[in-house]
């Protein structure tokens, strides 16, 4: 079964609920190695997405994702705004005006999102950033869609890989963002951005199921 605009909007609402639910956890992760604003910022951004969607859902998945992008860019003050904003914007642009997303479209959208994040943040796998969650997620999504996976299967594979990727940031030395100023002291903490990426993908996967 494909995901139409309504379903994508629902997924974003689920993402907002997840961020709200895990706000304290994200703040704590970020306090350990950054500026403690990730949970707060992301929550503010996703709450704003929900309130925009409350006043009307556009017709295509791409248009819904574009709302998410522009809202995050203007409402999230930290690095997460431009990074997630770019991710959603690139996915939206890539998907164009198709009316329903199948597994292949979702994998394509995720790939575009990853490329956007890498361009914007100039991070690579192993730098202890959201790329460490998103990159394996994209690869898993592409494998799942090649095996004929539907949106639920593709997103579920992506979410599993993202979680594993986020956990893999614990022993890493952060090389980008505020945490990079800590050097070796950033070791032993999961990256907040990688963690929120995994949480969001899990929320999207639940909705697709």
């Amino acid at each position: 079964m494909g995901c139409d605009a309504g379903r994508v909007a629902e997924a974003l609402r689920a993402g907002a609920a997840t961020v709200a639910e895990h706000k304290a956890e994200l703040i704590d992760l970020d306090r350990a190695i950054g500026d403690a604003d990730h949970g707060e910022n992301l929550d503010r951004g996703f709450a704003a997405i929900v309130s925009t969607l409350d006043s009307g859902v556009p017709e295509t998945p791409g248009a819904v994702l574009k709302i998410a992008a522009t809202t995050l860019i203007s409402k999230v003050g930290g690095a997460a705004g431009p990074l997630y904003g770019t991710a959603f914007l690139r996915a939206a642009t890539k998907l164009g005006d198709v009316s329903e997303l199948d597994g292949a479209a979702i994998a394509t959208g995720l790939r575009a999102a990853l490329e956007g994040v890498v361009t914007r943040g100039k991070a690579e796998v192993g730098d202890a950033t959201m790329v460490d969650a998103l990159s394996p997620a994209v690869e898993a999504a592409e494998r799942a869609q090649a095996d004929g996976g539907d949106p639920a299967a593709v997103l579920s594979a992506a979410a599993d890989a993202a979680k594993e990727g986020a956990d893999s940031t614990v022993p890493l030395v952060a090389r980008k963002g505020r945490a990079s100023y800590l050097g070796e002291r950033s070791v032993g903490h999961a990256d907040p951005g990688a963690t929120s990426t995994a949480l969001l993908l899990r929320a999207l996967a639940e909705v697709a199921r």
Partner: protein
């Protein structure tokens, strides 16, 4: 004024305003705009504020954008990419305070955007380091340098000129006087060197001049070459004679 504009993007409104304040003092006619903090005053960078500052700073000659930390760079790049013409602004990796001052002074002197950007970037190279490198180089070619220096005062071929000036203003060749000196010769086709206490500085670089640490009562040697060398030396002599308008 239709020169190059500057935008200072910072996580803190106070920091952005402070950098603008310092830069504006050096370059009163340049459009320097701050985009610091979130609309509610919290720490962060706001895309909309950056976009607004970009529009205000652009008077047709383009904008140079400087930032404090990583996410400010991302917000700035994002804002520039969404401009009607993204080529009108450039986001630069340069030291925020020194870069802003160097860029502002270059813009005040009428430099185009690439020259303003280069001024900001080169502010990253500490003047004293550059001077040490120059000194090491001149040791290798000691005799030639000496000959060239001795030939300069005669100054007939190639339009060389030279003057010794004793600083009479209170603060010597500090930031503001250095900026005024740089601005006074910015439009001239002349290579101007100012030396003091065995160190030589580029007359068109504020930071280079400040690194001379020339104080009240010190004597500086101004030597210029190029088609407008005499004009350059004359302007600097007059400026110093007026006590740098203090």
């Amino acid at each position: 004024m239709s020169g190059v504009g500057l935008v200072i993007v910072s996580h803190s409104g106070k920091l952005a305003d402070g950098v603008v304040e310092v830069a504006a003092q050096m370059a009163p006619d340049v459009a320097v705009r701050a985009a610091g903090g979130l609309p509610g005053g919290e720490i962060g960078t706001d895309y909309e504020s950056v976009l607004a500052a970009l529009e205000q700073a652009d008077s047709g000659a383009g904008v140079v954008v400087l930032y404090d930390l990583g996410s400010a760079q991302m917000t700035a790049e994002m804002a520039v990419e969404t401009l009607a013409d993204p080529d009108t602004a450039v986001v630069l990796d340069a030291p925020l305070v020194e870069g802003a001052i160097a860029a502002a002074v270059a813009a005040q002197g009428g430099s185009d955007r690439s020259a303003v950007a280069e001024a900001a970037r080169s502010a990253a190279r500490h003047p004293e380091v550059a001077d040490t490198a120059d000194a090491a180089e001149s040791t290798d070619t000691g005799t030639e340098e000496g000959t060239a220096a001795a030939a300069a005062p005669a100054g007939t071929s190639g339009g060389g000129a030279r003057a010794e000036i004793t600083l009479e203003n209170e603060v010597g060749l500090h930031a503001r006087p250095a900026a005024l000196l740089t601005r006074s010769i910015a439009d001239l086709d002349a290579d101007v060197r100012i030396s003091h206490g065995g160190t030589e500085a580029d007359g068109k670089s504020v930071f280079s001049l400040m690194s001379l640490a020339a104080r009240k009562g010190d004597t500086i040697v101004v030597s210029a070459s190029g088609p407008q060398a005499e004009e350059a030396v004359q302007r600097i002599t007059e400026l110093a004679g007026r006590g740098f308008d203090e």
